[in-house]
Symmetry: D3
Subunit: 136 residues, 6 copies
């Protein structure tokens, strides 16, 4: 019996959307207020989902407290109260759009969880904008 | 890398569930209070999701402000503060159930977005009742 | 020891904002899309709060199931799946604005609850617009 | 046209996670505070989803009030205000983890709904921990 | 300039409503399913509010992390994953109704915070039932 | 009949908590990760409440669309997608704590609304931390 378990987490960060190869005008025109050179920020909400078999002894697929700890170590400790552009290696060369941030989070968790089956992340930049990535 | 982006919108409308070929008794028995001839109404919440590749330059799949504008023009301007049965061409011949409203919204967006891959809509009639349609 | 207990309820209704003494132009200009002659509608959320002493035997101030039943009889049965303008005596002469609806709900509950101390109602027309009335 | 309709429900229950074949130490070490012999409890939120064709006459796939009644009879009446370990036959031999509870709910609904296509349940133990099961 | 700061917390617990001086019949009739001798449970949400002056140097009234730590030590560590009736001294002689639980939480925080001005707690037993107490 | 109407708004901003008169060590020790020199950010939610008499003709106390426009002009246009420390005159000399931001928002609205009775703002920095200010 395959089941999907999900855990919600959150972190607060600053970022700026910017393509260094483009002129300031093109950046401002394309990204609008998200291009503010002084940054803006968000409360990001994150849902991490994993699929697998229920252990017939324990009734667990995975221990939620363990998953919660992995998310803390790999994602919250790395991105919470940070400036994604200035403080985070992952975005030195990569624009910290919600799409890219979701992919980076998926890759960090996938590596740490040792390439699990059906890892999926949903990342809310605001309550109204969100992105889903499952490694495909 | 394929990613799914979602945008939330909302609109407030009146409607009545009614099958004109049926007697008043059958309508009232089948649809209950939703058949009230004087209408009732809802705050509809809508989630629109699209799947595609991330642009390697911008880090965007699509611009959320553009998607938000399309939803405004095609859905909110058409249905917000309207009576679905009386004001909207789409429901002159079609019962404005949540199911039919979700399909109509999908069709309007699909046409405007030029038949995108994996367009999906989730329509909440209330917090406890919702419908999902993806064109299949 | 005085404590305030609150109970949340909801109902779905259609309405139209309109002043019969005004011209159609003035109504449309003042109330905008809320003046649509064919009505629109909302999922109303209601919070009813009462203040009083805790009974030292039961640890209750009031029985929530009883309060829930009163709200059902006086408010939900009266307004749910109704057209406030056409179906409800209370709004034959009164514009069903959120403000007036909150006052009417307070009066109906106040009468039924036999003039309790500190009755308060909060009425949400949408998640972003709400009104509070406490009888003063 | 295939559509998925969903209905949200909830129930409040006590439970304890425990493997009778294990020592008290192993249980406490594995399940932590969830192993408290005196139980703890949750407000469970449940989303039940079904997929099928829209009826061209009524615009309904299924009647939400009927689905709501089935969920009440099969799930809420069985588990609400109960101790899952002590009061419920389903968990006499089965550890009431969120995973197992989701599977049991799916099985109860599947049997009652006569093996529908694409029945899915999502069970929230808390706002931050949830499980999805679709019978595969 | 006086300001009110609020911090949200939560804990999960089992309880049973019961008056030992009453017969089983009277208890069952009065408390209904909340009288289940095997207990049931809830995810309690708690909002703690304090009022005071803003420090002109720091711009803080109080440090939210400190308030969060006090709530953890006094409330979450005491009640989370507990059976209020069996595990908690506070309810050996007191029925663990939401009203009484709110008063006990207020008293525990008031003592620890050294009788602050305008301490208020709001305790949600469910999303639809909640109680407010401010020491008056 | 006096009634309180409330309107919810939101904006996304970056900020840093810092007292320039203090050493870096003291700032880091006092404000923790909120002192990050590269900033972090939040999705701020704002509730603005006003109290007054219902107009007997219109059933309005104030027009919500007008209030919404005032909040947009005075608050959202000023703070949305901004760095509070670097972009906003209000915080050149003032630490942008949630407390100070709530007071500044109240003052901006109070001035624009021409000193209304019972203006109150509630500002959520996160879902779990919020501040209320009413001018007293």
């Amino acid at each position: 019996m395959e089941i999907t378990v999900s855990r919600k987490a959150h972190f607060n960060a600053a970022h700026r959307l910017h393509v260094p190869e483009w002129s300031d005008e093109k950046n401002k025109s394309f990204f609008g207020s998200c291009n503010n050179p002084n940054f803006h920020g968000h409360n990001y909400d994150l849902i991490v989902s994993l699929t697998g078999e229920i252990d017939p002894i324990t009734g667990y697929f995975i221990d939620m407290k363990w998953l919660s700890q992995i998310i803390k170590e790999e994602i919250e400790d790395r991105f919470d109260h940070k400036n994604l552009n200035l403080d985070c290696e992952e975005f030195k060369q990569l624009n910290p759009s919600t799409e890219n941030l979701a992919v980076v989070i998926w890759q960090l968790l996938n590596k740490r969880l040792n390439h699990p089956k059906n890892l999926k992340v949903i990342l809310y930049e605001t309550e109204r904008n969100f992105v889903e990535y499952n490694g495909n």
